[in-house]
C-alpha cells in the first residue's frame, strides 16, 4: 500500500528521503514562526513551483481539495463569526502549506526506500519493521472488518437504520476483529523469529537511496533557516 506514492523520477523522486522529510519539517515550523499574514502563502507559492519542477502538479489538486473544507470553516469561524479575516487567512495559509509539503513528501518518497534509509543510518530493526508493517496491516485489518460485517449480516445482524442499531453493531464487529488479530499474533511472531528478526545482526538495507553532497547541503540550509527564523522571532 503506497498511500499516495506516485511512481516517477522527477526532482523530488531523486532527492534523498531525509532531505524531503527535512523540507516538510522545516515548512511545518516556518509557517508558525514567519511573521506576516501572507508568509505561509509565500511558502505555498514556493511549494507550487517545486511541484511543477518535479512533475507533481496533480498533487497540488489533491492539496487544494483537502484544504477546501478547512478554508470554509476558517472563513466561517474567524472571518464571519469573529470578524477577523486576517487570522482566517494566516491559518488557511498554514494548513495549505503543510498539506502541500506533506502530500509532495508522500507522493515522492517510497516507504520502502525510507525504511532502507532509516536502516542505513542505524535505526533499530523494530522501528523500521513497525513503520513498514503498520502501513501494510492497516488495509489488511480494514478488509477484515468489512468481511466481518458481511459475515454478521449474513447471520441476520442489522447494521443500517437507527443510531442504536448501528451502535449495537460495534460489538459483533470489534470482538471478532480483536480476537482474530490476537489469535494471529503468535503466528506473525513465529514468522518474524524464524526469518531472523531476533538474530541480533544488523539488518542489511536492500536498496538504500543515494545521498549526495547537495542533499546534505540542502538539509543544513533548511536547519539554518529554521533556527534563524525561530531565533529572530524570539529576539524581536
Amino acid at each position: 500500500m503506497t498511500l499516495g506514492y506516485r511512481p516517477g523520477d522527477g526532482l523530488l523522486h531523486r532527492t534523498h528521503p531525509f532531505t524531503t522529510a527535512s523540507l516538510a519539517g522545516a515548512v511545518s515550523v516556518l509557517v508558525f514562526v514567519l511573521p506576516g499574514v501572507l508568509a505561509p502563502w509565500g511558502l505555498v507559492a514556493g511549494l507550487c513551483v517545486l511541484a511543477a519542477v518535479s512533475g507533481l502538479l496533480p498533487v497540488l489538486g489533491t492539496a487544494a481539495a483537502f484544504s477546501a473544507p478547512f478554508w470554509g470553516f476558517l472563513i466561517l469561524i474567524h472571518g464571519v463569526f469573529r470578524d477577523d479575516l486576517g487570522t482566517a487567512v494566516v491559518l488557511a495559509g498554514r494548513i495549505s502549506a503543510m498539506l502541500t509539503v506533506f502530500l509532495l513528501l508522500l507522493a515522492s518518497v517510497h516507504p520502502g526506500r525510507l525504511v532502507d534509509a532509516m536502516l542505513e543510518r542505524g535505526a533499530p530493526f523494530g522501528l523500521a519493521y513497525l513503520f513498514g508493517a503498520t502501513l501494510q496491516a492497516v488495509p489488511q485489518l480494514q478488509r477484515r472488518a468489512a468481511a466481518i460485517l458481511d459475515a454478521q449480516r449474513c447471520r441476520g445482524l442489522r447494521v443500517r437504520g437507527s443510531l442504536v442499531r448501528r451502535a449495537r453493531a460495534v460489538i459483533p464487529l470489534a470482538v471478532p476483529l480483536v480476537l482474530g488479530a490476537l489469535a494471529e499474533v503468535d503466528e506473525r511472531a513465529l514468522a518474524l523469529e524464524i526469518r531472523g528478526a531476533g538474530s541480533g545482526a544488523r539488518r542489511t538495507p536492500l536498496d538504500p537511496p543515494r545521498d549526495g553532497a547537495v542533499g546534505r547541503l540542502v538539509r543544513w540550509f533548511l536547519l539554518a533557516a529554521v533556527t534563524g527564523a525561530v531565533l529572530w522571532r524570539l529576539l524581536s
Binding site: A24, F73, F102, L177, E184, L192
Partner: protein, 194 residues
C-alpha cells in the same frame, strides 16, 4: 528503543490496524464517535503503558499518512496521554467491571479533550476533524468565545468516545479465551483477576 520482543512487534501493527479499522467504521456509519483508540487502550490493558505509548505514536503516524494530513502529527502528545492513562487504568483494574470502565473512560475523555484543546486552538484555530469543528462553529456562531467553543467541542466528543472505547475494551477483554488472555502479562490484572 528497547529491543521489542517479536510478539510485541507482531501485536502493535495489528493494534494500529484495529484503531484505524474501527475508526473508519465509526465515520462510515456516521456514529458520533471516533473509536480510533480501541487498539491503543487494548494494548495498555494486555501488555502495559510502554507498549501502549508505542502503539499510540505509531497509530497517529499511520493515521496522518493514510489521510495524507500529516499536520495531525501535532496531536502526538494526546496519544501519549491516552496511552499512559490507559496503562494506569489497567494497573488499577479499571477493566474489572463495566461501571469502572465507563467511569475511567469519562476521566480519559476529560484528559484527552484538555490535551488536544491547546493544540487545536493555538495551531489550527479550532479547525480540525470535521465532526468536532461543526460543534466549534455552532458554539462560535452563538457568541461563545473561540477558546471555550474549542474546549466545549473537544470535551463533548471525547467524553462520549473515550467512555464507549473503554466499555468496548472491557467487552473484548471479557470475551478473551483463557489460553489467549494468559499470553499477555497485564490481561488478568486489568480484568481484576490477578
Amino acid at each position: 528503543m528497547a529491543r521489542l520482543s517479536s510478539r510485541l512487534l507482531a501485536l502493535i501493527p495489528l493494534a494500529v490496524g484495529i484503531n484505524l479499522a474501527l475508526g473508519k467504521f465509526a465515520s462510515a456509519t456516521s456514529l458520533p464517535l471516533f473509536l480510533d483508540t480501541v487498539g491503543t487502550v487494548l494494548v495498555a490493558a494486555l501488555v502495559g503503558p510502554a507498549a501502549a505509548v508505542v502503539t499510540g505514536l505509531v497509530s497517529q503516524t499511520a493515521f496522518t499518512i493514510v489521510d495524507g494530513k500529516l499536520m495531525w502529527m501535532a496531536f502526538l502528545p494526546v496519544q501519549l496521554g491516552i496511552a499512559l492513562y490507559a496503562g494506569l487504568a489497567a494497573r488499577y483494574r479499571m477493566f474489572a467491571s463495566p461501571l469502572r470502565a465507563v467511569a475511567s473512560g469519562l476521566g480519559l475523555g476529560v484528559i484527552a479533550a484538555t490535551l488536544s484543546w491547546p493544540i487545536s486552538l493555538l495551531l489550527f484555530g479550532g479547525v480540525t476533524a470535521s465532526g468536532v469543528t461543526l460543534v466549534t462553529t455552532a458554539l462560535t456562531a452563538v457568541g461563545v468565545p473561540l477558546r471555550w467553543a474549542v474546549y466545549g467541542a473537544s470535551l463533548s466528543s471525547d467524553l462520549l468516545d473515550k467512555a464507549v472505547t473503554f466499555l468496548l475494551v472491557y467487552v473484548v477483554l471479557e470475551a478473551l479465551p483463557r489460553r489467549m488472555a494468559v499470553r499477555f502479562p497485564a490481561a488478568d490484572r486489568s480484568r481484576g483477576r490477578a
